[in-house]
């Protein structure tokens, strides 16, 4: 277990040793801040039944900023080890393959959580400045941030998988971005496939991230989405483990 935490510590620290962490944080806070501003501006236009929490998490700006961070966070996790050759010193130390895969993934998840923490301030500031409520109930905050965590875990596992495929960080970033966008677009299919059966549309709706966010930001915690994200994360981590092992056999 000590080895596990040693590996995890190295993963988290490595973010802050490179400029990546600071660049991603600035970029991300700027974009989410902007998305929040747009959300507030929307509410200012006239009476509406959505809250700030809903308005913030359901704009196109939010999604653009949100989906871009995953390739940035995950692209170096395995690729850099392959490129530097440090994979050889790492995997000849007495550590197990699964420990490496899990700590790399978990390191990214922890960085992702750190990335999101400051955004909670937006809602405090809003409540304080407007004397109004950001959400109708505490559940809306809990739901939104729970979904962010679940989606983050899944998209990071996709990014880690892409990174385990190649020693080129750019290629890893492109693969993960495309995979994440394909998943997002698949969720949108339900709106265009109007002439197919309602059941098929429901299936696509089931894994639509946008739809999940609409539900969770109202404070409705949908267990189907929880099951979906947890099982897909596990699946992607198993795939990453397999790819990581096979990679070792080829070099």
């Amino acid at each position: 277990m000590t080895k596990f935490f040693t590996l995890l510590g190295r993963e988290i620290k490595s973010f802050f040793y490179s400029p990546i962490a600071y660049v991603v944080m600035c970029f991300f806070l700027f974009l989410t801040g902007f998305a929040f501003y747009i959300g507030v501006a929307l509410l200012n236009r006239g009476p509406t039944d959505v809250t700030v929490v809903q308005a913030f998490f359901n704009t196109i700006l939010f999604w653009i900023a949100y989906l871009l961070i995953f390739p940035l966070i995950t692209m170096r996790s395995f690729s850099e080890e392959f490129k530097l050759g440090t994979i050889e010193s790492l995997m000849t130390a007495p550590v197990k393959d699964w420990q490496v895969v899990i700590t790399k993934w978990l390191g990214c998840v922890i960085f992702y959580i750190i990335l999101w923490l400051p955004t909670a301030i937006y809602f405090f500031v809003f409540n304080w400045a407007t004397k109004a409520e950001s959400a109708h109930a505490a559940g809306a905050y809990a739901g939104s941030y729970l979904l962010l965590l679940l989606m983050g875990m899944f998209y990071i596992s996709v990014g880690c998988f892409a990174s385990a495929l190649t020693k080129n960080q750019i290629i890893a970033a492109i693969i993960s971005l495309v995979m994440i966008l394909v998943l997002l677009f698949a969720g949108l299919l339900q709106y265009v496939m109007l002439d197919v059966s309602g059941q098929l549309r429901d299936v696509f709706g089931y894994f639509s991230a946008i739809e999940h966010m609409e539900t969770f930001s109202q404070g409705i915690i949908d267990s189907r989405a929880i099951v979906w994200y947890l099982s897909m994360t596990t699946f992607m981590l198993v795939l990453t483990y397999q790819v990581f092992q096979s990679r070792k056999w080829k070099t």
Binding site: I87, E88, M91, K248, W249
Partner: protein, 309 residues
């Protein structure tokens, strides 16, 4: 310490090592020689459990590197070729990290990290970021990393490549000192290094072991390879033509210096042709200034064994 049996590794399209068998006993310092692409690094990577073999088996300290990989790795200090390091970490931090990964903990961790820094001369740079270190220091960090968990066995893949002569000498001294307490398998291209440090040499070529013996024995086997040096004035004779007629002579090269000629006669391995050359010279009434046997160096042995047919 190391036991390799019928080890084979095939990559798509070619065989990197082909059915090799060798052993390295406790306390030996063994040099692993071979031209580029001979299979040295492949063998070392299999021994370090970095990749599996296609066939055959290898074990370290009695633990199979595939079946009991964790135990085998714990007994091994491995320094890969080109010494890959995390360039964003500081020297001490890196060594602590590596020691923890290798299961060193508590007070022993502090002691060991201090000891290896001392041993490898890293005290001056302990707080520097690895990325800013020179090649020589990085090499030492790699060596310190390999030593930090007090392994019984060290496998060093080209430990002195890319160093300047002073650094090579200091790393060589270090390896020699380590040899008192550790078993070492090192690969290198620098033959003088092997002569200076190793008690045994394994020469590998095209995935096969060509020889495994002490440097002295290898040189002795190949006495003729060094050749004979004859400085003579053959008068009206050509010299080269006559020398080539001697049985066992492989080739003769000549340098002309006025009426004197310097012949270098290369003979088949294990043949000493000095008497025949002398007889020829005295029969033909050549005036001779020098006749000597040039001893084979390890380089001759190496070239002889690994030269493409």
């Amino acid at each position: 310490m190391i036991k390799v049996e019928n080890l084979t590794k095939k990559y798509a399209g070619f065989t990197a090592i082909n059915n090799i068998t060798f052993e390295v006993g406790k306390g030996e310092i063994v040099g692993f020689l071979g031209p580029n692409g001979a299979g040295k690094s492949t063998t070392m990577r299999i021994l370090s459990s970095f990749m599996p073999a296609t066939a055959g088996s290898a074990s370290i300290a009695g633990f199979d590197v595939f079946e009991k990989s964790m135990e085998a790795r714990a007994h091994l200090g491995y320094m890969p070729e080109n010494v890959p390091l995390y360039t964003d970490m500081r020297v001490t931090e890196y060594l602590v990290y590596r020691a923890e990964l290798k299961g060193v903990s508590g007070r022993r961790l502090k002691e060991r990290v201090g000891d290896v820094k001392e041993l490898c001369g890293l005290k001056d740079v302990e707080n520097r970021i690895i990325g800013t270190l020179s090649k020589g220091y990085r090499q030492r960090v790699g060596l310190a990393d390999a030593l930090v968990h007090e392994p019984d066995l060290l496998i060093l893949d080209e430990p002195t490549i890319g160093l300047d002569p002073n650094q090579i000498r200091s790393v060589r001294e270090l390896i020699k000192n380590l040899g008192r307490h550790h078993t070492i398998l090192l690969s290198t291209h620098i033959l003088s290094e092997v002569e200076a440090t190793c008690s045994r040499v394994i020469i590998i070529n095209r995935g096969r072991i060509e020889a495994s013996d002490t440097p002295d024995n290898l040189r002795r086997q190949l006495r003729g390879a060094g050749g004979i040096r004859l400085e003579a004035n053959p008068g009206k004779d050509d010299g080269v033509a006559e020398l080539q007629k001697i049985a066992g002579v492989k080739d003769v090269t000549v340098q002309v210096d006025g009426e004197w000629k310097l012949f270098l006669v290369r003979a088949d391995a294990n043949a000493d042709l000095r008497e025949e050359v002398f007889r020829l010279a005295s029969d033909r009434k050549w005036r001779v200034r020098e006749l000597s046997q040039r001893g084979a160096t390890l380089e001759d042995v190496f070239v002889e064994m690994t030269h493409a047919e």
